[in-house]
Symmetry: C2
Subunit: 288 residues, 2 copies
């Protein structure tokens, strides 16, 4: 499996479930010829309600699975796993391993002029303090206003991307950030880019929205360039999507996040990764 030259290897990406596909979408945009192998840990989603130990265990298991393929890089497209397990993963493999927290935090710092930075995410991500630490590491003098927005993910999954109720909830969640005069707001959850319109209208034109997914895709492109690992073949690749369980909603929400149709979805039992269940017909049955 190591016969392929680095540039022709794939990028291994994982998330606790479906939201990480917004990061994949940005990587597709930035790097249209890179092959992606995605793993969505639907059996364990959402990570936000699990313990740190559990998340480290799941992340390690997933990376071990991804390492069965010829990959050149690992992208942790999940805020919780980035916060809780990136150090462990970086110790486990020699491959460049990129999470979503660092690129988002760095872009947030860069885009703020007044040094008042907001960050929103799930309760788990905000409570972990990972963005807050990453921001302060970069620029210790900023003021950070963090807020969890637990209803945003279910609102996205309900498809209420531009609904009255979504505006009202956003007004409530973002009120403190607004009155504190932030000029940069990090969207610290993979689902949130789908609420950009609502969040942008609520925050007003003076606040830059920093999309961790876009920033992560830039970081992936830069790293591949630096390490001379970017593909030299301008051939549209076929990607692969693995999941630890089938959810009837994977296709609908997945295509919403990815912005294109989802094909080649394969279920695999991480406890027995040799048993790969290529159940695409079954998926088609349950999801169509």
């Amino acid at each position: 499996m190591n016969e392929l030259p680095d540039d022709q290897k794939a990028i291994g990406i994982f998330d606790s479930g479906i939201g990480g596909l917004t990061v994949v979408a940005e990587i597709f945009r930035a790097l249209p010829y890179e092959k992606v192998i995605y793993f969505g840990d639907i059996a364990h989603l959402p990570y936000g309600s699990k313990s740190r130990n559990a998340i480290r265990k799941f992340s390690l298991q997933i990376v071990r699975f991804l390492l069965r393929f010829p990959i050149k890089m690992i992208v942790v497209a999940c805020n919780t796993a980035s916060a809780d397990a990136i150090d462990l993963l970086q110790d486990t493999t020699d491959l460049p391993t990129i999470g979503v927290v660092q690129p988002g935090a760095i872009a947030g710092v860069k885009s703020s002029k007044n040094g008042r930075i907001g960050v929103i995410g799930t309760t788990g991500a905000i409570d972990s303090g990972a963005y807050q630490r990453a921001i302060r590491d970069r620029r210790p003098d900023v003021e950070i206003f963090a807020r969890d927005c637990p209803l945003f993910v279910p609102l996205v999954e309900e498809g209420w991307l531009d609904h009255d109720v979504t505006y009202q909830i956003a007004e409530r969640y973002l009120y403190d950030l607004k009155i504190n005069g932030i000029d940069s707001l990090i969207l610290g959850c993979t689902h949130y880019p789908l609420l950009k319109t609502v969040i942008g209208k609520v925050m007003g034109p003076g606040v830059s929205l920093v999309d961790s997914a876009t920033e992560t895709a830039k970081e992936v492109a830069d790293t591949l360039d630096e390490l001379d690992m970017a593909t030299s073949l301008p051939i549209p690749p076929s990607h692969r999507y693995y999941v630890s369980d089938f959810s009837p909603y994977f296709k609908r929400i997945g295509e919403l996040c990815l912005g294109r149709p989802l094909h080649h979805v394969i279920r695999v039992d991480l406890d027995q990764p040799d048993n790969i269940f290529d159940d695409f017909d079954h998926v088609s049955n349950i999801i169509n």
Copy 2:
């Protein structure tokens, strides 16, 4: 472990996580001297986004764990597991095994005069058609209006039990049920009893709300009586709560559902059930 007489054995109850504690609360009210051993499968919550096969596997594993204790009955305090796995569990054990779907459906049928019955639940529960089938089995001539309400659980967990936004979302979800003139509405999700005030106001006084948790507790009491298994000792028992993972929100949301403080919470790894982690101090640390 089988030395105890039946009446002194405990009731084993499980749920995908925390919501099943509303069923426990009703059992405490109806049967204050029965000992409860609860299992919350936090490592796998929510079941609604998992496949039927996964839910059957988890349910079986949990029941095998509960059978390590001297128990006299199994209560499946989870709508998804009741829908997907009750037949399997009833085949697996000789103990009386009660789910939340049947008692709720039967009470819904009883309380309807006009034969127009509504049922609400998570998308998984509604799509499974379990309540719809249970209602029709009892009374084939009724008209059933089913609706999934995916934002209700996150609204409860956010604590917005009486919030403007909750009313607006309820108005939207329940609109079709209202205009179709139902006179009985089954709350087919363990979290929904906490939204009774909102749902009651939205539906108006002509609609009876059927709480599956209350109905299940009645069924438990009746079954214990019939089988002569009810405890004869009027001693307040100490209950036990096992979870497959610790969530920092377990205590807050758990106490909301249970209506009383939660003690004796123990984490156990179902893959290695001999390793019981009595991490109560750890829980106290992370949840206080």
